[in-house]
């Protein structure tokens, strides 16, 4: 569970659909279309008749910013121009900052000619939320950060007693009142729709009403249970440049169906150092130690399992990792670190039973790939769990070293990577 970015397309649709509940004269209709690699443009054109009658904006919608600076935004275009732009850019490889990825999703919306660009954003901290507003929005907001107004909304007190209007500059004229109402409504929308970050930069006025031109939003995915209705049809895309592999999707799917936690990120499938660590805290420390010892480039995966997963779940988790790590051979061999802290309530014997089942299944492949296994774990039934592992080593024909709570948690890392003895 964490804060997750959503597409501008979804953010604007939410705004168009829900903000009117808080702001009566919000007339933004949210004419939007999302183009994916498999979208049939003719069909889309038939479904969204405004595309042929309006001037259009087309831009990538993949959770990265500064699209204008990268020349990826088509402005004030006709539908044939937009089609051409889409055909040229769909699937194109681009580098944003340090991340390279393919363009796969584009947002199409009507072009709104404008002169004024305002900035509005809401973020959260432990005591409440911060509302930001600036008259100098758009690309200039960062260099004019000192002109940004900020109000803090206490998490318990809410927005009732907060005076926004008198802080807004007089120069806004009749828009002053409209912006006050908009920011208040926006905060209520933010706090009741599960947002953890929201930025509209810029927004403008078109025929007297507010139009969002560019939007960035993050949701707290733990709200899903409460937001089922409002979030219907919404997706959480992976960050730009990162598409999940089949194996990562498989683990993600298991994770979504259990009370336990199972996470897997593949960093370098050719890497020699594979980890299977129990616990969100311990897994980070194992990764730290691997990097400290200079093996960052060899680290194949990051992941963790915790919350007392059952035998079947640890079996599938282990099998996925073993499958990945035995696909390619490395003349130097590979290591698998089955690590973890001293568990509070996770049954070590039970979780290891699933691990052992998978190891047995991959016996031959593990031998062929020259895998060495290092185990360190403590907690309920750990003696039994470690015994299971030791006896496995004897019959598997794969070297397994097994340690308990008497050995420092990360000791197996230097043991496995060379650089110390037990």
């Amino acid at each position: 569970m964490a804060q997750r970015g959503i597409r501008e397309y979804d953010a604007k649709r939410l705004l168009a659909r829900i903000l009117p509940e808080y702001l009566k004269d919000f007339s933004y209709r949210g004419s939007l279309a999302l183009v994916e690699p498999e979208t049939d443009l003719e069909e889309l054109e038939a479904r969204e008749p405004w595309m042929k009658t309006s001037r259009l904006v087309v831009k990538p919608d993949q959770l990265f910013g500064k699209r204008g600076k990268h020349g990826l935004v088509l402005l004030d275009a006709t539908w044939p121009e937009a089609e051409k732009f889409l055909k040229e850019n769909m699937g194109a490889e681009v580098t944003i900052g340090t991340v390279t990825g393919r363009l796969t999703h584009f947002l199409i919306e009507p072009f709104a000619p404008h002169e004024e660009e305002f900035y509005a954003a809401i973020s959260s901290d432990s005591d409440g939320d911060n509302i930001f507003f600036s008259q100098q929005g758009g690309v200039y907001v960062e260099e004019n950060w000192d002109k940004v107004l900020r109000w803090h909304v206490d998490v318990l007190a809410g927005i009732q007693g907060l005076d926004i209007k008198s802080d807004l500059p007089e120069s806004l004229g009749e828009k002053r009142s409209a912006i006050d109402m908009f920011l208040r409504a926006l905060w209520r929308f933010y706090s009741e729709t599960g947002f953890s970050y929201l930025e509209i930069n810029p927004f403008t006025f078109h025929r007297g009403s507010i139009v969002p031109l560019d939007m960035v939003a993050k949701l707290d995915d733990a709200e899903e249970y409460w937001q089922k209705k409002r979030w219907a049809g919404l997706s959480f895309p992976e960050p730009f440049g990162r598409s999940l592999s089949k194996e990562e999707l498989f683990i993600k799917d298991i994770d979504s169906k259990t009370g336990a936690s199972l996470k897997l990120t593949i960093l370098n499938p050719e890497g020699r150092v594979w980890t299977m660590v129990a616990g969100g805290g311990a897994s980070v420390i194992y990764a730290d130690t691997i990097c400290d010892l200079g093996f960052a480039g060899e680290m194949a995966n990051y992941g963790e399992y915790s919350g007392d997963p059952n035998t079947e779940e640890t079996y599938y988790y282990t099998r996925t990792i073993l499958d990945l790590m035995t696909r390619k051979k490395d003349p130097r061999g590979k290591v698998l670190l089955i690590g973890g802290a001293i568990a509070n309530f996770t049954d070590v014997a039970k979780t290891f039973k699933g691990v052992v089942m998978a190891l047995e299944e991959y016996q031959e492949k593990l031998q062929e790939a020259g895998v060495k296994i290092y185990v360190r774990r403590g907690g309920p039934n750990y003696e039994q769990g470690l015994k299971l592992m030791r006896s496995l080593g004897d019959r598997l024909g794969v070297p397994i070293e097994v340690y308990g709570p008497e050995t420092h948690m990360t000791r197996i890392v230097p043991l496995a990577l060379g650089g110390g003895s037990a």
């Binding site: 569970m1 964490a2 804060q3 991340v99 959260s124 432990s126 005591d127 409440g128 998490v155 318990l156 599960g194 953890s196 707290d220 733990a222 709200e223 249970y225 409460w226 992976e238 960050p239 440049g241 990162r242 936690s261 996470k263 990120t265 960093l267 129990a278 616990g279 969100g280 805290g281 311990a282 897994s283 980070v284 420390i285 990764a287 730290d288 130690t289 691997i290 990097c291 400290d292 960052a296 680290m299 963790e304 915790s306 973890g340 802290a341 001293i342 568990a343 509070n344 309530f345 403590g378 907690g379 309920p380 039934n381 003696e383 039994q384 709570p405 420092h408 948690m409 990360t410 000791r411």
Partner: protein
């Protein structure tokens, strides 16, 4: 409230009483076991709050058992136990917020520990702010909790009793510890106990972005508590919580030595998009990286190792400094307490043994799938063994040949019902009309089955088998029975006769002739029938007799049974079981029929009873004198 006597920096002491929200029997027992080995005077759990059931819960206190009260609501529990000021909340992420808010609204509850993972950030922030506004403390969400050594543990904190003993958590040391990670709490207890005199108190605030209380909140309590001499903390990349501690260090608000480490130094080597296990563990700015935080701790005067591996050494360095300066004194270790092993655990480990009370040889539900006589239920279904096949497995422990299974099913169909007037159905109907439930009415019907009703199958099988084995000719058998004055069981019918043959018997015989390898005993019985029907037309081989006799033929000829096994089947009354099982179908039908019809209480008409009272003379005791 009892708080008046406690300092604000004390969360838990040896008299702390808590509520456990959620019927978490393992965690409850772990808390009590901890209390027991700490030699507490009384259990730390005042009551359990279980929204689905009020009543009591029985748990161990050492080797004895005690009763814990159980309430449906927090307010009822708080009214009954105003001295309890802690609630350990095991509610799911869906109800953690509402229940925790409810607890915070109770004046007597001061600390709420929230275990659930996945509590939304807004809810967590409201919980934290509400607690702060009331001078209360929320630990969590998404944590195992925390503990005060020798005094109180939250739920599963510190794991097993063996681990608690290994890390000497049954008595206080001088180190106050706080971490984000609940999983690392136990590891830290282990490290700290190996490098100092151990933990005084340890709390895991949880890995979420907005924990109800922060690491600094707990560190400031440790700073105030004179029993704590040094502080250790384990932070994580992401968020700014650590900078609040660093600011307090710089401002001189933390005077006790502080050992600190921030995990996540690997993040600069990984792609920016990796989400670590904890929701809050993501560095959005350079300042939030582990490297920056560790350096800031170092600059502010904390004791910071060069990697997590050195954490214990740093703790040892500070502890030895305190020892040398006399700030802490060595103390004599109290006796290591003992807790009786749980029976199930000891059994699993092979440390104890006990003769079993029961033996079962027909089915086994101890694996992941139930076995019928060793055969997986899924295989039974896949092989389409049917009711006959299942009876073969569960009664005879055999995979019977197909025709045998079919024969059993034929028998069951034949005996399923015989109208409402016979004893069993009549009794069942009367019971049903009296308003009794299905099972009671069924029992009422079944209880009539015996020597006179439906019980002839076994008897017929026994007598015919006996005669055949004794080598009696049909004539000798009939004569022998007559001499003993016994009606031959399985022979005779109220209505049916040679002229009006019983169709059921004909069905059975033709099936057996077509399928059984041999029908030796049947042939014998038919010879007997010829003799008896010659005397009287209704002395035919009846359906009970036919079933019993054919069953013996089946067992003898199918080759699956030894002679002793066949003897046993007859001796133990297997065959009446067939009747009881089959007839239950009809009995249930009659019972449901009456219920559907809404039948009223049955009373037998008095004119149908001959009332014949004994005379006064006959009942008088002096009569025989």
């Amino acid at each position: 409230m009892s708080r008046a006597s406690k300092e604000n920096y004390v969360l838990f002491d040896r008299s702390t009483k808590a509520f456990v929200y959620g019927f978490q029997t393992n965690a409850i027992q772990r808390m009590l076991d901890f209390d027991y080995i700490c030699h507490r005077d009384s259990p730390s759990i005042a009551a359990i709050i279980n929204p689905s059931r009020a009543g009591i819960h029985k748990a161990f206190w050492g080797s004895k058992e005690i009763i814990l009260p159980m309430f449906r609501t927090i307010s009822l529990a708080a009214k009954a136990y105003p001295e309890a000021d802690v609630m350990v909340n095991f509610a799911s992420h869906r109800s953690a917020f509402d229940t925790s808010m409810e607890a915070l609204a109770e004046e007597s509850i001061r600390v709420v520990a929230i275990i659930a993972e996945g509590v939304p950030e807004r809810q967590a922030r409201i919980l934290g702010a509400t607690a702060r506004s009331k001078g209360k403390i929320v630990i969590g969400p998404a944590t195992v909790g925390g503990m005060t050594a020798g005094a109180f543990r939250i739920g599963n904190t510190a794991g097993t009793i063996e681990n608690i003993i290994a890390s000497k958590l049954y008595r206080p040391g001088c180190v106050g510890f706080v971490s984000k990670s609940g999983g690392m709490l136990n590891e830290a207890f282990n490290i700290i106990s190996r490098n100092s005199d151990g933990i005084y108190e340890g709390v895991a605030i949880g890995g979420d972005r907005y924990p109800g209380s922060t690491m600094l909140d707990h560190i400031m309590r440790y700073e105030e508590n004179p029993a704590i001499k040094m502080i250790a903390c384990l932070g994580e990349l992401g968020g700014e919580d650590e900078y609040r501690i660093i600011r307090a260090l710089q401002q001189g608000k933390i005077t006790k030595p502080l050992v600190a480490w921030v995990t996540g130094t690997c993040s600069p080597f990984l792609p920016a998009s990796v989400q670590f296990g904890h929701a809050g563990a993501k560095a959005d700015t350079e300042k939030e990286t582990a490297q920056a935080k560790n350096q800031a701790f170092r600059d502010a005067g904390a004791y910071v190792p060069s990697s997590f591996d050195g954490y214990g050494d740093e703790v040892r360095k500070v502890y030895e400094m305190l020892l040398a300066s006399g700030a802490v004194a060595k103390f004599e270790e109290p006796e290591v307490p003992r807790i009786p092993a749980d029976y199930s655990k000891a059994l699993a480990s092979g440390d104890i043994r006990k003769p079993t009370t029961f033996i079962c040889t027909i089915s086994d539900d101890s694996g992941d799938e139930v076995l019928y006589a060793g055969k997986r239920l899924s295989a039974v279904l896949q092989d389409r063994m049917g009711i006959g096949g299942v009876i073969g497995l569960l009664w005879f422990k055999r995979q019977l040949p197909d025709y045998a299974a079919k024969f059993i099913e034929l028998v069951l169909q034949i005996v399923a019902d015989h109208g409402p007037a016979v004893s069993g159905a009549h009794n069942a109907i009367v019971a049903s009309c009296a308003g009794k439930d299905l099972i009671s009415s069924l029992c009422s019907g079944l209880l009539t089955i015996g020597p006179r009703f439906g019980g002839a199958i076994d008897d017929a099988a026994r007598e015919f088998k006996h005669a055949r084995e004794a080598g009696l000719s049909p004539e000798q058998f009939v004569a022998d029975m007559k001499k003993k004055g016994i009606n031959i069981p399985g022979i005779g019918h109220k209505i049916k006769s040679t002229k009006n043959p019983d169709k059921r018997v004909q069905q059975l015989i033709s099936f057996a002739r077509a399928n059984f390898p041999s029908t030796d005993l049947l042939n014998y019985a038919l010879q007997v029938e010829q003799l008896t029907t010659a005397k009287k037309g209704n002395l035919i081989l009846n359906v009970d007799g036919c079933i019993g006799i054919l069953f013996l033929d089946l067992m003898t000829s199918c080759g699956a049974f030894k002679k002793e096994e066949i003897d046993e089947v007859v001796k133990l009354g297997y065959l009446n079981g067939l009747f009881a099982l089959g007839r239950s179908i009809g009995l249930i039908g009659h019972i449901l029929d009456q219920k559907r019809l809404g039948s009223r209480l049955y009373r037998h008409p008095t004119e149908d009873i001959a009332y014949m009272m004994p005379s006064e003379e006959e009942t008088s005791c002096s009569r025989t004198a």
